[in-house]
Symmetry: C2
Subunit: 248 residues, 2 copies
Amino acid sequence: MGRIKLTIEYDGSEYVGWQKQQNGRSIQEEIEICLEKLFNSKIKIYVSGRTDAGVHAFGQIAHFDLKKSHIETKKISNALNYLLKKSKNKIIILKSEKVSGIFHSRFSVKKKIYLYKILNRSTPSFILENRVWHFPRSLNTGKMQEASHVLIGKKDFNAFRSINCQAKTSIRSLEAIKIKKNKDNIEIRVFGKSFLHNQVRIMIGTLVNVGIGKWDDKKVFEILKSKDRTKAGPTAPSCGLYLEKVTY
Amino acid sequence: MGRIKLTIEYDGSEYVGWQKQQNGRSIQEEIEICLEKLFNSKIKIYVSGRTDAGVHAFGQIAHFDLKKSHIETKKISNALNYLLKKSKNKIIILKSEKVSGIFHSRFSVKKKIYLYKILNRSTPSFILENRVWHFPRSLNTGKMQEASHVLIGKKDFNAFRSINCQAKTSIRSLEAIKIKKNKDNIEIRVFGKSFLHNQVRIMIGTLVNVGIGKWDDKKVFEILKSKDRTKAGPTAPSCGLYLEKVTY
């Protein structure tokens, strides 16, 4: 039959993350369970990149190989959505499509866009619960945008990765960071081919320290140069982060 | 002491509506319970207008009178938020402020803005669950905007009110309807001084019938002229509706 690409949206707040784990439901496992129900055989799925517990996706990409199928490829999404809903999952397959055998959800990635949402006002919001980082102190997004320029380009992001990050090299190319403010809502989009573990969230935590006036762009430059995780800002909460798009 | 104005945000999906009812938690009752705890006396609150079960608010307005207060007026919101959270409510008091004794949350209204959110794509969304009307058929928002003009001005909206509506007259002045589309997300804002029961939701249901090509602006004109509820479109679901702002 061939290789199938899935475009996936999920509410990450209900899961331990993309990857299978002992301590709760994972997105990968829930989809694999439904694929097994659908095709009566164990199927392993490959993802563009894992997301952590609480992180959402508007356009996560995964692929799997199928020996034979009793349903049309584009209808696999509907069948999976039926099964996912039945098992009370918060996952939607937006699209299922046939791709060439040389396509790989992880190795063929050209660009990823992460979106980080901040609610910047004194009171929290129940309408946006688990959907944004509620940050009560006023943020200067102009200063944040200015400081973000320090991070653009091919750099050693060792200061901006989790101490548990297992990537061999900490050098990554960051294409752009775009910050938009609309009343109390701040949206930060981060563009790049690949990211280190927690890189986006640590960059956000660092830029937020700039936004409150604690740090400036020179300080962010020093942090980058230090290659020392303890120098950078806190890891921003997972609930504000969305994997928005992956292009190939 | 005087009159206090509250600006209130809530996730309506957890409530039977603004007004006290036998069959579940209402926003009014939950706030009144917290006010009683705070001030040790029964306090009745008056609202700009009730919202139905499932309808949200970003800026509902209510007022109440206080004989004496042991806390600063602007800190009443914090105290109420603490109590509301403790009783597991999805209500946030954004602001508490002192107003003149001639201010009335309902009778002094100058304008109300309702926001209606539609997710217009084939698949539903768990990230936006209870926050939008998921409408799978493609909508032509240009045609909807065109047909909306028929409803603007001082008109008899009898065809656009619930059969349970108890207002003495069905004549209302509709100031504007503005429709914005951003990818799959449609936002419709409705501006007016006051509305009949279910008026916004029936207008949305009617415009959606235009959006799918079933009706056009001439048909909407006929419906308006008929003054007959059975001629208009369905009442759009409450989960997509937000009372966005009330001005005085």
